[in-house]
């Protein structure tokens, strides 16, 4: 079992290992990263390259009356200025709907929408030239309150959709059991979740290099090369063979790199100028250059027996999708189908909607529709616990899903669902000691701001559980492609693995190596740079890559192994089933060496490329939401301990402990890293992270004003990892990355409620919510 105990120096120190599935080998890119030699997308350069810059809309909604690019073109050092009129293909991009122009055409629908591009010799020249482009705008009424976006007479963000849903992007309805249930105990609440930013540290960046064939090579930090390629081809009017994407070093993603940012723009400039063009956003531009987590408004009601057993649940969930759809549809699907949490509920009525507004576009972020819902269902679960006099752990254990249960879409949970076990594990972990008589300021709310020496500080403990789908749902053809080659080099067998899967920091390359070592018995495994010369791997999102690309690599390795062993069987006059690959040898089942891999392969390489799919999913029924919509479910629980300065409203999280079922830890150290990082992001949303939008304008697009947790804000974490193998998944793996981000925040919010007695129906919790009446 994998676990981590804080303050036990070196507890998770990696030990030497063979680097197979279940080990924690060092990541191959680590050496480059600690010496500064790893090439991120923003580090790329060419001697003759130009720098691109983007002019963005200052208005949330306006008609573009005229654009005069001449003043920018007149700036020395400027090589090109492009607008929508220069887009050679179709000026439309988008993950689910092609509803967003690559460059605004006639109208801007959010503050920060790209309007024009400049390429120049120096990045500052490009930025200053962009500022000289004269755009005449006529401001239009903006839809900025999503709660009013569906009212009759509301302005339409996309007027062409007047008869196709208007401002409604998607609505999902869940109807199960008794349509008019009653229960002796009823609790209800309204909850609001602010807009969170992924805040990956590596800014959106890439380098587009024009090719001699009229095509372009784009080196870019992304989560999914092929979905980018499809959209860039569309904009450029070029076939996929002429738009070649290569993964450049990625500095974090968390959902924020699913949509295009500078991809098409750099390619447009490169093709126009005939020179390599680099684009790299500043932090401020980054806040406008990618989608955020949907803000949400949630109304929940639970009906229960007097012992707390749930009888029914009703929920109404509204997601602000912003100006363009991005992945709002799928987020609504998740919010609707998973938004009541990991509980057994016989009677269900859920309406989930996502709407267009003139706010910043929202889309994918770690936890994808489940994060917002979890704040509401977990707050309400605590209300129910209070109402029936059961403690917060037992009410969750009592209602928690178990294997074999049916969820609200009617899907049977056909592998482990250890909700009760997880919540009891975190309850039983040791609690942090209370504050000493003379506490260290750095461990108090307010820290070295010296706002308290312990007076007015109250401790609280809160709990939360969650479950999240792994992989793409609702019938999506969610596959990955792997190419694996085995050959002998300098007398030693070497495996080469090539996929298009994006390593964004999580450790996928290490996992691919571990799988190849496990399946092919080799020590040396080379993972080639991800690019579009191999088929799609799907997205690095939805906690899916170890499962899906891991599954593809495993399957391709098995195919290679079968070929090699069949060949060896022929040479040895033995049955292939009796043979194994072991390092540079072929052995029998007893381990006796029969021949060398080199003797079988000679100078030849054995290579297999194949697509791999997890079991299929089904759409949600339009009327009832019924359907086996999800591939797999992942469960986690958190316990947060907080100290709150109730006079100033300042919070210090003292401990953030968690338990999670990961099916099988392919790389236990990397699993812990995902859980720790995910927990911190969830805590950030509970306490401090919000893109503040007023009248459609972002007020805090910087790391000075948008705060993410520092090492001082982040507490030690005890972690216990369960490994209940999923019989349907390769090696039994269960997705890891997202659940911690979902259950940590609600646990922190619950702990603050426990300390303060305040209802706290909005996150992030602000000081005035704690000190206010």
């Amino acid at each position: 079992m994998t676990s981590a105990v804080p303050n036990s120096a070196g507890a998770s120190e990696t030990t030497a290992s063979r680097g197979r599935v279940g080990d924690s080998p060092l990541r191959p890119d680590g050496l480059l990263k600690v010496t500064g030699a790893f090439a991120y997308a923003s580090d790329l350069s060419r001697d003759d390259m130009l720098w691109g810059a983007t002019l963005r809309s200052p208005h949330p909604h306006a008609r573009i009356v005229a654009i005069d690019t001449a003043p920018a073109l007149a700036v020395p050092g400027v090589h090109a200025v492009l607008t929508a009129a220069d887009v050679p293909g179709e000026n439309a991009v988008g993950l689910e709907h092609l509803d967003q122009p690559a460059l605004a055409e006639g109208v801007v629908r959010y503050q920060g929408e790209a309007v024009a591009l400049v390429a120049a010799e120096h990045p500052e020249t490009a930025r200053r030239a962009a500022a000289r482009i004269v755009v005449e705008y006529e401001e239009l009424p903006a839809v900025t309150d999503p709660r009013r976006a569906l009212e009759p007479g509301a302005a339409l963000v996309h007027p062409a959709r007047r008869d196709a849903g208007g401002n409604l992007v998607r609505e999902v309805r869940m109807r199960r059991g008794d349509p008019a249930p009653t229960a002796p105990v009823v609790v209800a609440l309204d909850f609001e979740v602010g807009m969170q930013d992924q805040a990956f540290l590596g800014p959106e960046s890439g380098l587009a290099v024009p090719g001699a064939d009229g095509g372009v090579d784009l080196h870019v930090a992304t989560q999914w090369l092929h979905v980018d390629q499809r959209q860039v081809c569309h904009v450029l009017g070029l076939p996929p063979g002429k738009v070649r994407l290569h993964l450049a070093g990625v500095g974090g993603a968390f959902g924020g790199r699913e949509d295009l940012s500078m991809h098409a723009h750099a390619c447009l400039l490169a093709l126009r100028t005939g020179r390599p063009v680099k684009m790299s956003y500043s932090r401020e531009e980054s806040f406008f250059g990618h989608v955020h987590r949907h803000p949400a408004w949630l109304r929940y009601e639970f009906g229960a027996e007097r012992d707390g057993t749930l009888v029914y649940a009703r929920a109404d969930i509204l997601f602000d999708g912003g100006a363009y759809a991005s992945s709002t549809g799928a987020v609504v699907g998740n919010g609707g189908s998973l938004g009541l949490g990991p509980y057994r509920i016989p009677n269900v009525h859920v309406d989930a909607r996502g709407v267009y507004t003139n706010n910043p576009p929202c889309g994918a972020m770690r936890g994808f529709g489940c994060v917002q819902a979890a704040f509401a269902h977990e707050a309400l679960m605590d209300e129910l616990a209070d109402a029936v006099g059961v403690d917060p752990v037992e009410i969750r254990a009592r209602n928690g899903m178990r294997e074999g249960d049916t969820n609200i879409t009617g899907q049977v949970i056909d592998s482990a669902a250890p909700v009760a076990e997880l919540i009891r594990i975190v309850r039983d972990m040791p609690l942090p000691p209370g504050s000493p008589p003379e506490p260290d300021l750095r461990e108090l709310p307010g820290g070295v701001g010296n706002t308290t020496h312990g007076e007015g500080v109250v401790r609280g403990i809160g709990y939360a559980v969650t479950y999240k789908n792994v992989g793409f749902s609702e019938g999506y053809d969610d596959y990955s492609t792997a190419r694996v080659r085995l050959e002998v080099s300098a007398g030693e067998p070497v495996a080469t693995v090539h996929t298009a899967a994006a390593e964004v920091g999580q450790g996928l390359i290490t996992v691919e190596q571990q799988i190849a070592r496990t399946e092919l018995g080799v020590e040396r495994v080379v993972v080639q740079q991800a690019d579009t010369t191999v088929g799609s791997a799907g997205s690095t999102s939805a906690s899916r890559q170890t499962y899906v690309t891991g599954g593809a690599v495993k399957a391709a390795c098995e195919a290679v192994r079968d070929t090699v062993l069949a060949r060896a069987a022929g040479m040895l006059q033995r049955a292939a089933a009796d043979l194994r690959l072991d390092g540079d040898k072929i052995v029998d089942v007893s381990g006796e060496v029969l021949t060398g891999v080199a003797d079988v392969l000679g100078d030849e390489a054995v290579e297999e490329t194949l697509e791999w799919r997890h079991r299929p999913t089904a759409p949600l029924d339009e009327e009832t939401g019924a359907g086996d919509a999800h591939v797999q479910f992942a469960f986690s629980a958190h316990r947060a301990v907080v100290d709150v300065d109730v006079e100033l409203g300042l919070v210090k999280v003292v401990a953030l402990d968690t338990a999670q079922d990961v099916g099988r830890a392919v790389n236990p150290d990397a699993v812990l890293g995902q859980i720790q990082g995910g927990s911190a992001q969830g805590m950030g949303l509970a306490l401090m992270e919000e893109v503040v939008v007023t009248d459609g304008r972002v007020r805090n697009p910087s790391f000075t004003d948008y705060l993410i947790p520092t090492i001082l804000d982040t507490p030690p974490m005890r972690i216990e990892v369960l490994e209940y193998a999923d019989p349907h998944a390769p090696y039994g793996v269960r997705g890891v990355g997202e659940p911690p981000t979902i259950s940590s925040g609600p646990a922190v919010a619950a702990a603050i409620r426990a300390a303060t007695g305040k209802a706290l129906r909005r996150v992030p919790v602000r000081p005035e919510h704690i000190t206010g009446a």
Binding site: P6, N7, A9, G10, A11, S12, E13, T14, S24, R27, D29, G30, K33, V34, T35, G36, A37, F38, A39, Y40, S42, D43, S45, H122, E124, A199, F200, L201, G202, P203, V250, G251, G252, S280, S282, R283, R442, E443, V448, G505, Q506, D669, A670, L672, G673, Q676, G677, A680, Q681, S702, F703, T704, I708, P709, T710, I711, L712, T714, P716, M717
Partner: protein, 157 residues
Amino acid sequence: MRITLTVNGTRREVDGVWEGESLLYALRERMGLPGSKNACEQGECGSCTVYLDGLPVCSCLVAAGQADGREVTTVEGLSADGELRPVQQAFLACGAVQCGFCTPGLIVSTHDLLERNPQPSDPEIREALAGNLCRCTGYEKIMDAVRLASRAQERAS
């Protein structure tokens, strides 16, 4: 303008520097040293931390011209002899690196902390590194790495 400075022990002359450029830009784009990172460019994230005359600074907040005549050590310079420093080894060994974008700045900041305070307490580590944002790790393995580096340096001395 031209600036002359010593970077990682080597005297460098850099021509064509625009007055508004940061030391970070000059290092990354004019001197071929992209190890220092550009995550916020306003001194909040610490990803661009370098030594300037022996003191850690956010190189995004130092004008390139201010570095004229001075001595700069970047993350690339810490292991210029080809040997990883204990702090670099510890970050590797503890899994304190995920996407790694914060890593160069954290390596320099931790190196500086352990120079000043070879055996820091946990609160001292947290205070010293509070100017270095990391979005991937939740900091637990960074704490492990700093503790390990401290022990390794103690053993080596």
